[in-house]
Symmetry: C2
């Protein structure tokens, strides 16, 4: 014990070489909340930057998956994110490139039968006249475009995401919050690798699914997004990319699950005013956010991060049984939800579904996190 105290720095260094994550936790108070982020990282918004900036949170690693972009692009974004926030000690671990069962040809066939999908991640056709190397429509999973937030110089872990997730949860049973803000492919594989994986996580928080979202804000951008809800209230991309993985996730024996679907996002929006308010901080993070973020989009993954960090922002939530449609029909990937009395109880479980958040409270808390200057 004395040796540890005396040679604290050296001990941390040894641990850093052996188990980088443990070192990272070791250097802070042991009361930190442990979190694993699994994400199809794009840009600097989303869960990673917020969770990395949170003072009482220890990010054990970021696992990446294809989704909005191919896995390798998500990995590059994740690496660049930890560089910008100065946390290159946090491992970035590449995960699944393809969904479990879904594929591009099946998606084209599905569209012929059931209608055009607005967004298909990297299978989205490039906009006519769009710049080559655009993130959507990237032909090959291995092609990583030049990132708007700069290209990373650091390298990802050589471990496989699902194996890393299993290893971390075994090392910290019942202590880790699993934070999933992309398709569920890595999570489902981890569940398959280790049947006790879900039960040994402390809780799962995820952004995904859609119940019955409605336009809340009176802006042109909000109206444009709302137009989509009218025809597809139950469709959300994270789930639609890999419905089978989402169903495996939904059937997991997680001690606690918090779902952040599309619904609360309709009350939020990235605005120039919010981005402008970050200016005084002048950190690499706030500078990159201000210049790299396109206003007008709703907040999605950020809500999930903030709901977990500041539960007081939730103004409406319901406990619902949740599953996802894996039938190869019009409803493929649609969210299924029930009150307890209506649920078929065929493996689906109760989840806390966040339906509404206090936008002002959330933005205040987000601003404080983004502007936080971390002394290391």
């Amino acid at each position: 014990m004395r040796r540890v105290l005396r040679f604290g720095v050296g001990w941390a260094l040894i641990l850093a070489l052996a188990v980088p994550v443990a070192a990272s936790s070791g250097r802070d108070a042991p009361t930190k909340r442990l979190v694993l982020i699994d994400d199809d990282v794009v840009g600097l918004s989303g869960a990673p930057a917020l969770l990395l900036q949170a003072p009482d949170v220890e990010v054990l690693g970021i696992t990446t998956t294809s989704g909005s972009v191919w896995r390798d692009t998500a990995t590059a974004y994740a690496l660049r994110t930890v560089e910008i926030v100065g946390r290159t000690d946090v491992p970035v671990v590449p995960g699944a490139t393809y969904p479990l069962l879904n594929n591009e040809a099946a998606t084209a066939r599905w569209e012929a039968l059931y209608g055009r999908l607005e967004f298909k991640g990297p299978w989205t056709a490039p906009a006519p006249g769009g710049a080559s190397g655009a993130e959507a429509g990237t032909p090959s999973p291995a092609v990583v475009p030049s990132l708007s937030i700069g290209n990373p110089v650091t390298k990802p872990s050589s471990e496989i995401a699902a194996a890393f997730l299993v290893r971390m949860v075994r090392a910290h049973p019942h202590q880790i919050t699993l934070f999933a803000t992309g398709p569920m492919t890595n999570i489902a594989i981890a569940q398959s690798l280790d049947p006790s994986f879900a039960a040994n996580v402390k809780e799962l928080v995820y952004m995904g699914g859609s119940l019955s979202p409605q336009q809340t804000l009176d802006t042109p951008a909000a109206a444009a997004f709302a137009r989509g809800f009218l025809d597809t209230p139950r469709r959300e991309f994270n789930i639609r990319w890999d419905p089978e993985a989402a169903r495996i996730m939904a059937h997991g024996a997680w001690p606690k699950v918090t779902m952040v679907p599309i619904d609360p996002s309709t009350g939020t929006q990235w605005t120039r005013a919010f981005l402008g308010s970050l200016k005084p901080a002048h950190t690499p993070l706030t500078d990159a956010l201000r210049t790299g973020l396109e206003p007008g989009f709703p907040m999605w993954d950020e809500i999930a991060a903030m709901v977990w960090l500041e539960p007081g922002i939730v103004t409406r939530a319901e406990t619902l049984y949740i599953d996802f449609d894996t039938s190869q029909t019009a409803g493929y990937g649609d969210t299924l939800s029930w009150q307890a009395a209506d649920s078929p109880h065929l493996g689906e479980r109760a989840q806390t579904v966040v339906l509404r958040v206090d936008r002002a409270k959330m933005e205040t808390a987000m601003r404080a996190l983004y502007m936080r200057r971390i002394r290391r």
Copy 2:
């Protein structure tokens, strides 16, 4: 020609014996709008009473179908309705008792897999302690309970609904508005009987389907109904009772289709105030409405009737391609909708979808119709 003019009354009588409907139109100005009502009639609300009261409308007949109640009960309600409004000259023609493919055992099996259905028409289990003879949960299609609005003394037509529909449309090609406010079984059979049926109708107006309804009114009843939309925004009973028939309807070559889904109903509600406002008329119709109608329910079929009679009440509508899910999965009977560019174009057609109506304007027009004293 002169003979016709001279013996006008006799001619009308001959036609009345041969083609009762023509007689009915004959006695009014030829500019009347012709309408056929196909409905799972329950009570006095809904489309029949409103259309029968409309001064510029000639109801050629009311065909009945199972839906909210069994066909025979709907027939009894339709007969009682024409008695109350003093229009026993309008034929009531019984239609389909069972859906095309759906059945009670399949519904039970579906519920075991995909969750409890809140309302199943006559397959709904009677509420514990509910009175025997209740409309829901009636064990046998032939058992007609005692009607809250009194039992009819008149008899239905001996014709079959679908055959009657085909005959009427052939007699008045491109002149009839087909008004469907129940499940689509009779309509689908008529389409199958006569491939030109849909194209020879002037237009189809129907109440059915659901896109993305949201609570609009701040009342306990509205909140209770809205709770259901959260889990099943795409489910509506008329369609869910007979999804295959609905799909056949959706693929018909109607010159024009107006869909009134659940969505606009959230801005409406039967209230004691509205029912009370009918009191001064003291007609058999207003008296029966005031005493027989339970306040709190949204308006459904009434919106369809009023949208057709007073198009100015529509405050939001969209042209969408509409179909219905007939896969034997969680989405069985769900409404499918697309903008033109997204639609698979596999038989589904453009429909005018009513999303919002002006409640005050609608109630004013409804009140005037209900209170109208018809001199015959």
